[in-house]
Symmetry: C2
Subunit: 383 residues, 2 copies
């Protein structure tokens, strides 16, 4: 059915109507008092969201652009960095580092398994000469639905003295990422995720320790030069023309988040993750990530006796719900349900209901019809 | 008056209502058939707009991000480049080149004066060893309202063999920039200008000759790596999450441009430029650029007996029309009228009328009230 699409992918995520309408407003000049006020307001809200006193900068870029900026502004060619790789995005940050001539050591785990903090600790402990300059961790690995233990790894990195850089693209606004409490130096994210916005804005939060490293870091950057963004942001301005209408939406979305409250937002994502996982288990659909490492934003499912792509395509065709497929070598092997951002408990019931109907149509006989919905309802109503 | 703002700055420019409404639509998934169709459609339209058979790539970035990408993808550290500098943007491209360790030679002209093609020819002719790898030219210098002679410079660069890279941010969609006919290798632009969109999208058109240079170019880039964009665009996809709702607007805006036709669009900008300039002269307000080098997008005015910022601020306060001020050392010395993108002849009359009223209120006595409007009307109605 046309114009009836429901997004249950890990981004773009659903956008609330007040945000959509704010973005339909006519642009204002970005060198005006009005825009200065907007930027000041939004910057304060972003610090709240990141639970930080540090700078949070906004770029016209995707999450990848933001994360690249978060890496290249604080390092120099030849610097040794550890990069956690257990999915497509961890792998991407290793590629970014290699592109800029950093000495990259990949600390890997199988896709679908979490990174092992002990492995990082071992490498950090052994590095008595302090040659490791930074550790790059993907908090929620969007490609597999795995949440890595950023808090633990971060503590060990702090003790060592290197910078800890986090891709929080699908964790920020979904689960707790307290930048200051955990001592994170770089936190990168993108608008089409927990922010409840369309894609187009990237965010980078930067600690004072990272700014100290900035002074001597020599990798080349201009558009992605965060020093330019900081200098401008300190004056409620931007170094380059900002996407004015996306900023209108950002202000409305952050207002909504503040009204809901961080604790409620995190509890909602946690509850919906548990409901989704309970439903999959009740339908005998194997979960790709273990409970202890499950992302609050994405549930990846690896069906055995029924084709993942067939399920996905039928759910789209019959019920206009978009689920995500697998990426790279997981293509066709898993499907992914996004429960990130502006998602209500009703949406979870809807998605599970549609999934059950599609399984029925595909002749799947590994579960009692209704079992998934019953399990999800149980979690949603009783926690 | 609230919500009554009229933009007469060189960007963001006015956005048509159908474009605003298209951007208020709910996002779709960017890895879907629907988005593939949209991207294919938009890419064909962009080639039409650039008058080229070459690739036109779309980035989530400002015009600066697009121009930086257009420079760094085709060069290596130490490469010798000539950069035309006669305003803020020419200076910015020289800074980009320096940031990446290129050997930069600035070919300068006073701000407000055009670059001298003979100076480029002399340097190119003298370069018998072909050490010059690229020439970077700002076509319409937004900071001064000067249109540089890109066509002539381009011809000489082609004869030499270097790459010719053009910042067409405020010329594309306002005046003729026939990429293939002029043999341009890189053409960069941004959405908030002739495209009639809010800011947030950057565009880079790339010739085959530039792609040949790409193969051996070694400057580091990942998010701005145009090879990634080409590879994806060839499959109607994007390497990173695209700003989906801005693409909705882009499709509508390019449709509108196709309906109006390139010749009509260029004629409209030319007529409005002439009307604006005639009005300024009739009001004894000195034009900052000479007729022969006047940008079709921006008219810069350098008032003598009345303060530029006072005019600007009164026009804003009394009539809700936003004019641009001067940048860098021209701050307070000039004001700039944008007549770029979705601007009708009515808007020109409105702006001139408001300007006259403001001058009257400021006690300016260097012209007969009504003289500006009469001069503009004359040009608009009789060409």
């Amino acid at each position: 059915m046309d114009n009836k699409l429901m997004l249950m992918i890990p981004g773009p995520t659903p956008v609330p109507e007040p945000v959509l309408l704010a973005m339909a407003k006519h642009p204002i000049g970005h060198r005006s008092k009005d825009f200065e006020g907007l930027l000041a307001d939004v910057t304060a809200q972003l610090k709240w969201l990141h639970q930080t006193q540090s700078d949070v900068l906004v770029l016209a870029a995707s999450g990848t652009g933001a994360m690249e900026a978060g890496i290249i502004n604080f390092l120099s060619a030849g610097d040794r960095v550890l990069v956690g790789v257990n999915g497509k995005f961890g792998d991407r940050w290793a590629q970014v580092c290699e592109t800029y001539g950093l000495k990259v050591e990949r600390v890997t785990a199988e896709w679908g398994k979490p990174l092992d903090p002990a492995e990082f600790r071992r490498l950090l402990d052994a590095d008595t000469d302090k040659t490791i300059k930074a550790v790059v961790i993907t908090h929620s690995e969007t490609s597999t639905g795995v949440l890595n233990d950023l808090e633990t790894i971060s503590k060990d990195v702090k003790a060592h003295g290197a910078l800890i850089m986090a891709d929080a693209v699908t964790s920020l606004g979904a689960t707790n990422v307290p930048m200051d409490e955990w001592g994170l130096d770089v936190v990168a994210s993108g608008s089409q995720k927990g922010y409840m916005l369309p894609p187009g804005l990237g965010f980078v939060a930067v600690s004072q320790k990272a700014w100290d490293a900035y002074k001597t870091a020599t990798l080349p950057r201009f558009y992605l030069d965060l020093g330019k963004y900081k200098k401008a942001t300190d004056k409620n301005s931007t170094p380059f023309t900002p996407p004015v209408t996306l900023f209108f939406g950002l202000q409305v979305a952050l207002d909504m988040m503040q009204k809901e409250g961080l604790e409620s937002i995190f509890a909602r994502h946690h509850r919906q993750k548990n409901a989704t996982r309970a439903a999959m288990q009740a339908m005998s659909l194997p979960l790709f990530a273990a409970d202890a490492a499950a992302s609050p934003a994405i549930t990846a499912v690896a069906p055995v006796s029924v084709d993942a792509e067939k399920i996905r395509s039928l759910v789209k065709k019959r019920f206009d719900i978009l689920l995500a497929g697998g990426q790279d070598h997981l293509k066709g092997k898993i499907f992914r349900v996004g429960h990130l951002g502006f998602v209500s408990d009703r949406d979870i019931l809807t998605a599970i209901g549609a999934l059950e109907a599609a399984l029925l149509e595909l002749g799947y006989d590994q579960c009692q019809p209704g079992a998934g919905l019953a399990a999800a309802s149980q979690v949603l109503t009783q926690g």
